[in-house]
């Protein structure tokens, strides 16, 4: 093997990617038809998370050495990260035809299945891979994650214990052990696991996210929201939609029942309030709880800068809400300086409901298209909401605002869902 190739591999191990790429470029000058050099180049791009750029070298590697299953593997990985799962799957099949004993192939297949909410298939692939290499930590971790989604928590726990027994210094394993504990609502244990995971690798985002949730979940109010999210996360996305829409229709039915049978309103009104609170909390639960997490000594460091920003926005809104509520409370019947009680009430309503689009925008990944679309939606909503509050003559606009807020839940859910699938 050429000297440049050796050096490139060494540099990649040390995660010095720009230097590694330079060495690979030199290796290509020596041997422009080497599939393995192109494969390493693709790997380099993947490690640097530049997925589109990995496509060309990975394809070239496979074209040069179509009989090398590792080239099938690397191109499959690249396709997967470029959101082209179908091509990835067909390459996994062709790679396994060449060599059926590649644990990383099964791992990739499992990861794709996980990504597409097919937990059973993910578990199956993890187990096939483990048949070849029972100590592959990544496969063990994949298996535990799949088991968690399938609600087989006890098995997941045993799997993670085994993973940590074979490799006690694996940050990912500790993080997954923490997530098992979160699912068991054993938050003290979860926090300890996540801390250990972060000690081993402070850059482990999986552990950091877990630490956040575990600290917040010590509050019983948030625990409800977290358990709802975990439960929703175990559903396949199609079912999730049916659940949301079904719940909404149920709510409409209860409202119309309430209209027709006023005598039973003692039964219906709490249900309606409960639903509204629930729907509201699914949107604002994260940022509001993050806002309070900012006062936790360890928790505040677990928040990313974007989460901090979201928490600040929501905190400011909550403060404004509180101020207007106090004003409303102490204002005389006639109001102040032309601000009637009604107007204050509308202000209260708009600021309160604006929490939803503001929080919703931050749910999309930073810099994504979804973030931009949702942010514009929120800005337009704000214009329609605040103009009638400031200029009562434009009262009609408030109707548009109401419609916009109503539609938001569905539009945003759709946009977020689509964005969550992308890398």
């Amino acid at each position: 093997m050429s000297q440049h190739l050796d050096r490139a591999q060494l540099l990649m191990e040390q995660r010095r990617l720009p230097e590694a790429e330079k060495e690979l470029a030199q290796a290509l000058q020596e041997n422009p038809e080497s599939g393995s050099v192109f494969r390493l180049l693709a790997l380099c791009k993947i490690m640097g998370q530049n997925y589109p750029a990995a496509l060309a070298p990975a394809q070239k590697a496979l074209a040069l050495d179509p009989d090398d299953p590792s080239n099938h593997y690397i191109l499959a990985v690249v396709y997967f990260y470029n959101n082209q799962s179908e091509q990835a799957k067909s390459l996994i099949r062709s790679g396994l035809n060449l060599n059926p004993y590649m644990p990383n192939m099964f791992e990739l297949a499992g990861e794709i299945a996980m990504h597409e909410d097919r937990w059973e298939e993910a578990l199956l692939n993890a187990e096939k891979g483990l048949e070849i290499d029972p100590e592959d930590t990544e496969l063990v971790n994949l298996r535990a994650r799949a088991l968690l989604k399938l609600n087989r928590t006890a098995e997941a726990e045993a799997t993670m214990n085994y993973a940590l027994y074979t490799d006690p210094h694996n940050s990912m394993s500790h993080a997954n052990q923490g997530w098992v504990a979160v699912n068991q609502n054993n938050f003290e244990q979860a926090i300890a696991s996540f801390k250990e995971a972060l000690r081993l690798n402070p850059q482990n985002n999986h552990a950091r996210a877990g630490l956040k949730e575990a600290i917040k979940a010590k509050n019983p109010l948030y625990r409800g929201i977290l358990n709802y999210f975990l439960w929703m996360g175990k559903m396949q996305s199609g079912k999730q939609w049916w659940f949301i829409i079904g719940l909404y229709f149920l709510y409409r039915i209860v409202i119309s029942l309430n209209k027709n049978y006023p005598a039973l309103s003692f039964l219906f009104v709490p249900l309606i309030v409960l639903y509204v609170l629930f729907a509201f909390s699914t949107w604002i639960g994260q940022p509001v709880s993050n806002f309070f997490l900012r006062f936790h000594p360890l928790g505040k460091h677990a928040l990313s800068s974007d989460e901090n920003r979201a928490a600040n926005w929501v905190g400011a809104q909550l403060l404004a809400l509180l101020c207007i509520a106090i004003l409303y409370w102490i204002a005389p019947e006639a109001g102040w300086l032309g601000w009637s009680k009604d107007r204050l009430f509308f202000a209260l309503l708009v600021v309160g409901t604006m929490l939803i689009p503001v929080s919703g925008s931050f749910m999309a990944p930073v810099g994504s298209n979804a973030r931009k679309q949702l942010a514009w939606y929120a800005i337009i909503l704000a214009v329609f909401g605040f103009i009638p509050v400031l200029f009562p003559a434009a009262f009609v606009l408030l109707g548009v605002y109401g419609l916009g807020i109503f539609a938001y839940a569905f539009v945003a859910n759709y946009i977020l869902h689509r964005a969550a699938r992308r890398f």
Binding site: Q3, D6, R7, L10, E13, R199, N201, P202, Q203, H301
Partner: protein, 446 residues
Amino acid sequence: MELNDLEFLLEAVKASPDNLPLRKLLASALLKNRRFAEAEVEYKEALRMAPQDLGLQMGLATAFLEQEKHGMASVIMEDILALDMPPPQAWIIQARILLAMGNARDAQEAYDNAITLDPNLADAYLNSEISQKLDTEPEASKVRLGGFGETEEEDRIIEFERPKVSFNDVGGMEKVKEEIRLKIIHPLEHPEIYKAYGKKIGGGILLYGPPGCGKTHLARATAGQIKSNFMAVGINEILDMWLGQSEKNLHAIFQKARQIKPCVLFFDEVDALGANRSDMRMSAGRHLINQFLNELDGIEQSNDGVLVLAATNAPWHLDPAFRRPGRFDRIIFVPPPDEAGRAAILEIHLRNKPVKDVDYLKIAQKTPGFSGADLEAVIDIAIEGKMEESMRKGIPLPIETNDLLKALGKHRATTTEWFSTAKNYALFSNESGQYDEVLKYLNVKK
């Protein structure tokens, strides 16, 4: 001795010309004040009174030597060294004479004689001068690392130098400089104090911090400050060690450093060499790391006079074994330059360029977190813009404050990313508090 005291001594000798001890005092005082011609006269005068006094003879020889009258100096020394038990100091003087006469090999011998008789006479500076001379052939100022290329020309070569920069050329960084003074410079200047406390001179300092903040520059300046040799081992040499005849080459580097001591041996990006075991799953064997640790410990050969400096952007990837006492026991955080430092850097970089009333402080205020390399990039962008404008207008225009401010918009501080990583390590993986400095810099309360 103060000049006034010297004048006083001169008066005193004039008043009592036969007072031998007083004359001796005067002669050595003149020598110390580098008034060699007068010292020569006084020594001669004193020797007339006490012709057998060895101290006076050696003093005269030194006075001759300093006036480059080598022949006369060596005549005196030959007589002294012909004695049965010449004083050890005489060998030192002889070594200096021989060195001045260009006979490095014999000078080395004389120096070795002196050290054998009295180890306290060790003079690092003289020793390195001698070894420098010994290696005057061009080949010898390099360490040839064999085993990489097909032919000898392809072998990698590490050169050493005697840097001209000193701490005065390093803007800001007072705290870091103080640490280095304590660990490296004081021991060399006052070896007796360290000897009295039984403390070994040498050992290592690890510099860490965001890229482009002057770690390498500082290491070079350290070597310049103590007027020692400087050998820099970079990432390419280290990589070759992983692949080629690793241990042998590493040993060769350390051997060379010992040979030309005092020497500052600088390892850039040392994390490439001492990566944590768990990070290097794929690479077989840890012999290179072990070899490095052995050399640092100086088990086979003493590292006296060899100072090891290392720099890294990723101290968390370094094997914990490196941090044990006697190795890199002092870990220094090199932060990005502060406001005054940034202004100084801007000024240095713009020194020989056409500028007009540049408000350095204003730019420094607007560039928090910028590294030296970042500031250089900003200047580069500003100059490019200005050149374009100059070509359009046909007259060369000077760079103004506004040009630099405009360039600021096109460049972001590269240290931000480093700090977000470092913060994570400082918060979650900081058991022994080695990253507390980072937290302090970021003003994060734990």
